[in-house]
Symmetry: D3
Subunit: 303 residues, 6 copies
Amino acid sequence: MFLRIDKLQIDMPVPKNPDPKAAAAVQELMGGRFGEMSTLMNYMFQSYNFRNKEKLRPYYALISNIATEELGHVELIAAAVNGCMYGQEPQGDMTKGDASFAHVLNTFPNLHSHIAFPHGAMPSNSMGQPWTGDYVFNSGNLVLDLLHNFFLENGARTHKLRVYQMTDNPAARQMLGYLFTRGGVHARAYALALEKLTGVQMAKMLPIPAVDDIELPESRKYMEEGWHRRLYRFTPKDSKDYMEMAGIWNGQHPDGGDLEVVDGPPQGGDMNDYEGISEAFTPEYKPEEIFEMATKLYEKAKG
Amino acid sequence: MFLRIDKLQIDMPVPKNPDPKAAAAVQELMGGRFGEMSTLMNYMFQSYNFRNKEKLRPYYALISNIATEELGHVELIAAAVNGCMYGQEPQGDMTKGDASFAHVLNTFPNLHSHIAFPHGAMPSNSMGQPWTGDYVFNSGNLVLDLLHNFFLENGARTHKLRVYQMTDNPAARQMLGYLFTRGGVHARAYALALEKLTGVQMAKMLPIPAVDDIELPESRKYMEEGWHRRLYRFTPKDSKDYMEMAGIWNGQHPDGGDLEVVDGPPQGGDMNDYEGISEAFTPEYKPEEIFEMATKLYEKAKG
Amino acid sequence: MFLRIDKLQIDMPVPKNPDPKAAAAVQELMGGRFGEMSTLMNYMFQSYNFRNKEKLRPYYALISNIATEELGHVELIAAAVNGCMYGQEPQGDMTKGDASFAHVLNTFPNLHSHIAFPHGAMPSNSMGQPWTGDYVFNSGNLVLDLLHNFFLENGARTHKLRVYQMTDNPAARQMLGYLFTRGGVHARAYALALEKLTGVQMAKMLPIPAVDDIELPESRKYMEEGWHRRLYRFTPKDSKDYMEMAGIWNGQHPDGGDLEVVDGPPQGGDMNDYEGISEAFTPEYKPEEIFEMATKLYEKAKG
Amino acid sequence: MFLRIDKLQIDMPVPKNPDPKAAAAVQELMGGRFGEMSTLMNYMFQSYNFRNKEKLRPYYALISNIATEELGHVELIAAAVNGCMYGQEPQGDMTKGDASFAHVLNTFPNLHSHIAFPHGAMPSNSMGQPWTGDYVFNSGNLVLDLLHNFFLENGARTHKLRVYQMTDNPAARQMLGYLFTRGGVHARAYALALEKLTGVQMAKMLPIPAVDDIELPESRKYMEEGWHRRLYRFTPKDSKDYMEMAGIWNGQHPDGGDLEVVDGPPQGGDMNDYEGISEAFTPEYKPEEIFEMATKLYEKAKG
Amino acid sequence: MFLRIDKLQIDMPVPKNPDPKAAAAVQELMGGRFGEMSTLMNYMFQSYNFRNKEKLRPYYALISNIATEELGHVELIAAAVNGCMYGQEPQGDMTKGDASFAHVLNTFPNLHSHIAFPHGAMPSNSMGQPWTGDYVFNSGNLVLDLLHNFFLENGARTHKLRVYQMTDNPAARQMLGYLFTRGGVHARAYALALEKLTGVQMAKMLPIPAVDDIELPESRKYMEEGWHRRLYRFTPKDSKDYMEMAGIWNGQHPDGGDLEVVDGPPQGGDMNDYEGISEAFTPEYKPEEIFEMATKLYEKAKG
Amino acid sequence: MFLRIDKLQIDMPVPKNPDPKAAAAVQELMGGRFGEMSTLMNYMFQSYNFRNKEKLRPYYALISNIATEELGHVELIAAAVNGCMYGQEPQGDMTKGDASFAHVLNTFPNLHSHIAFPHGAMPSNSMGQPWTGDYVFNSGNLVLDLLHNFFLENGARTHKLRVYQMTDNPAARQMLGYLFTRGGVHARAYALALEKLTGVQMAKMLPIPAVDDIELPESRKYMEEGWHRRLYRFTPKDSKDYMEMAGIWNGQHPDGGDLEVVDGPPQGGDMNDYEGISEAFTPEYKPEEIFEMATKLYEKAKG
């Protein structure tokens, strides 16, 4: 069972200018084979189908809890795409026959951004190809699933690094800086889980590729705050669920400091509220009526 | 941002016998076009891309909160599939050359259940076809998105009714009985949202098809407990998020009783813990070693 | 622009017993790579994109007109599937908790037949995989497109022969017997078109595979009536469209008799009207109300 | 059974300059989830699988007849794409080693336009993804299928409005102006059909989005001619098929004037005949020989 | 550049009875995400795109050479499927109207086996879903690609073990026994390559799952012959290509014996020649003519 | 069983400048429906499933041997793509926060080139859509399979001609010039095979389209060397395999000269070795360490 808090895991900046090409690249991190929908759904299904939960509680707890964090990562990628897309204004008036969004034919590499979606996030990759359940791996064999997850996190990191290289859009970079540290935590956690089962010191292989998060400016600030050492228990504070992952996530980080399990989620950042575009019908062509109705409902609900 | 509680929304029975054909039918409700992955992802993306959140707060709150409930529905479908699949035992010993799971070739309509997955839930439909992001609709136009959601819920209900007809497996039926009432709440909520925007009394069209939930034995008990009248706020109890949906979800249910918004999630039911199958390598061929290691971790984490 | 007549190209029998496995095989001829949706859409797109229509009128006319005949073939495959599926009755009463269609889990190889579709035709192949636009070939090069069409017709014939071998269901066989002669006409027409452009006597390669239609009992009756020698102009009788295909379709059939272009469509056969299944909600769970309403409309429309 | 007339439903202009980006956008209306191939195939399969045709004749007639009109809409989209693509000339001579279509690498967002297709329409969407049978919905439940169709028409309208905003290409706009009125007729017809079954006044929700067709210059002229009030019976004039839809399509249009069923199709417009491009091999590299052969055939056929 | 020898890597038995269900399971090892088409194409593309070949020659040689061995594995899976499918005889005579392959509707889980393919191997998985290029991973980062390959080999092994459990068909088992040892060599080779780059002793993780090849009767015989210790150079004997992989593949096998690089391919086994089925048109309905023609060609070619 | 030689079939130039748009077009020839992966896999599966090999040896030999040549064609397309992509340098330093590959967002039509692949060949078409096993045709009927292959080769030629028109990149053109002659050999070989079975003189239809290879400058040089007349036996020189195809491939070429079967492969050209891009992590971010390790291995292997 899941709960939601109307916050993002971090604050996100609102870029000054629309940058649909950056948005297209970021989409790979949403709906690509190594995007956050993939990490989310891999760990979710592994948690759903976990056998011998009681006997293997630390592993079950680890996978289940990381899955929950990934829900917030998907949301964060969506926020980054919305940030990159925001600000595409109409030019002219369609009721006078103007092609008021003709410019998007040149600026949007993904035409669905305007035709099918509201200049926002889509469940597809950088090429506009939809995410698919084929990306989920869940053999049920614990070592193999953990090995997969370790590989998946490193593949995801590589793709993120390359998207980092393709854009310095502030929304994209803020998200990336944060996710490098969080992905690093997940990769290390799966490495430790494997080590505890097999004795193989997988974590020595990190980072893949051989560039440290600390070398990336946007990631450095999160490192300095210690995000790379913390696993958050994404569960209500009065809950004791998933505590057992501390059996895996402990000891020292190679960069110094202790690995720690933190009770409850991080403080989080506020959701941005973007203006609609009435001429694109988001939320409506003549929005004043819809707002008036909503206002009444809102007052009534508050009242 | 999301939290997880290690419970299902309801208790689930453990069926006595494996029933892989029932599992195959239930998979449609997981990864089919009208399955719970679809309702989940449709509402999630609509919440990510929502414009003018502040001005249209009741609608934003409604969609965001139902999305969160759907996370638990996906989990429940997964639990039902696991229940249906549980108990497929090996026959013979592969290290003596026996084809210890030869029987699954005849009983599993979906061979991936054994080859690729651990006799559990898969992100695909009743035909083994993977769920795809193509199933997500999000125009950003509020009326159209709500109309879509109303249609989606009714399509989902129709498919559930037909799966109900195909199996009386107790795990499948427990889940179905519950989800008929919850899906009914969602359909009605979207109907009311549309009515408040357009004046069209969509709810009069319900139920689609024209069989009432109350007529279905497994659903009746939930009706009698009032589940069909309640929207739960799936957020921590100290949070005020999503309260504004009460502006939409209010008034009388046609079957009597008031529509109400309940703070916090339902009490929930315990997760079942299914035995692994060592010969299928879930979690491992020689599980005793893996259990021993895990026990040490577990003790350490608790300690 | 197209018109429709509420008839099939031939009369179709109503099989006494449901035969969902036969239906599954016949679906290949609907939505498979060599199914009628493919022949239809290949020729349609070739006609839409035809360049130099005036200068190459006989070829344009031939392709455009065969495309129109294919519309009726798709309809005929659908009728055959409906015939094969008809008669799957509910067993028990779902409102008493019965799994009233449990038997379809064993008899339907394609679960979508019951869950998503009304025991009828689907736009997918024998494996339940959807038809896709990837099956359309249209290079615009006339020789290559005709060569493709010649190959496509022979591939379609091979698949039909193999479906013939898999079932003697009377609905399937009636359709097949007829379509062997019509597909034979199309293969020969494309062969003649190629011969007139290149001098290569493609028709000498026929039949592929080397079994004659006349050897197949269900096809023989159509041969005896001369269907294998006639191209129908599927256009209103007062129209002169597509006459120019007579420049290609002329001369002798190797089995004797002249190739001829017939003005207007064949006489056709009546549509069958199958009973709905109220418990499957087709058209509705409580159908009497819906029928009453429809009756009023019907009377009014007639009146 | 179907007939074809070698006309389009309306006259189409020949744009002066090629505009492949406009063509790419228009492709969404061909092969996208809400494109005309989808409306066509949804209604076709619903008509093939219709149960209780006799008892529910007005509904059967309505769906069957709209399906037939959609055949002409697909053709019209194809004509618009051809119009947008026409005029891409070779630059240089490939037999001298020139890259005679190097410019298309920059101007064609969809490379298949040149490599696989003859600068014409393709069975795919604006992203070059093929149309798929997964887009077809046919539950067999009459209310649900009509609700789907109502949603589908409004989704299709939204996508068309957004394509309208992306281009003022005259071929695209002529098609759009016409299809706004025709799609409006279909949406209203399904709304009335639902109302007559359920009492819910769906038509009050129209238009979705909240911009009227009359506000769009290219649509206004069709409104003024009354196209938005007429359902054509797309059947030969001597046929009485589909008349029963008048039981649904009657009464007043909210903008004034009576809804009427017209016998036979509209008068239609002439097909454009575009020049081939010999260097692109459409229809052939050395076209004079092919034309000579065709001329002989043509004369013979006429003679 | 590649050469072919008309032999398989090992002799394959001809099973006495057709076993299409076994064939379906084996197909996963052909066209599944972890099938041999995947290992083949992953390593092929990694070899095509390898940068700094000269500086990293041992790695380039290893990947390139294993890719070549995989070509023979694909061929071997195909041979196993053909073995499993062989012997499905017609029952009756289609020219008398018999449904001569009606039995395959019940025995073939994959209807394409008869309709589209000649009772043989298909480029698809156990569910009949086609292999796709999406299964290829090639980041270009050497550590990550090797980690992927190590994971891929272990995933492939797990799927093979589960197919082993599903059938004791002699053709399937012969192939599996052999491929367990060969896949083991590849997994170990990638482990050693990773170890030499990162110092992490990946090979200690093997075998995954924790059942040794030596425990499986069909694999034991190959182990006893030392196949699990040998990398063959799949290149002509006079070629020195790929020798550098000896820099990675050296030292002791944990089960004893030295790892060795063998010049040239193994001796191999004879291709089986299966009888055609004339009634299924493989190779033709009236095969005697085709044989007569071929005989003449054959004599001439030999002559 | 297959062998590999570390050479390409011809020498390939290294273009001076990167040309990712050319690369995108060339990808159609890799992973498109008519790309080399398709010709490869069609002939491979036809050879795997060939029935009555002994009786039909010349046909089996022809198909098997052409399949082997196609392995080298796939490799050549990959080399052409690598040539087109080579030279995309980073701009700036990501560890200073620079978007060092921002320029690829504008120059790469396929974003996977940078995000997922190392600026190299991908198993997908010009639109970035993955190759799929659906492209394989293998009915087992010899005439139909040969007819398919003849069509496939001509479709492949048409697509190659159009890619030729889209770019004069020297790597692309070198590959194309060569493959026009080789594809021409394959088309003619299948034509002759068909003629010998059916008497129909298919070769008279060539070339399709009607532009001769000799007219294309890059192809002319290969024609002058006689490549269009030679079938190479891609098998070790001491092997007698596949000789029987000489029964089909004999007589005169219409342009003069005898068709001949050559023992062994052509001499071939050297592999190019492209520099890695450390900032893109190919093979690694800090490559000096990886090179040092590899050097040691290399020396040891040579030693």
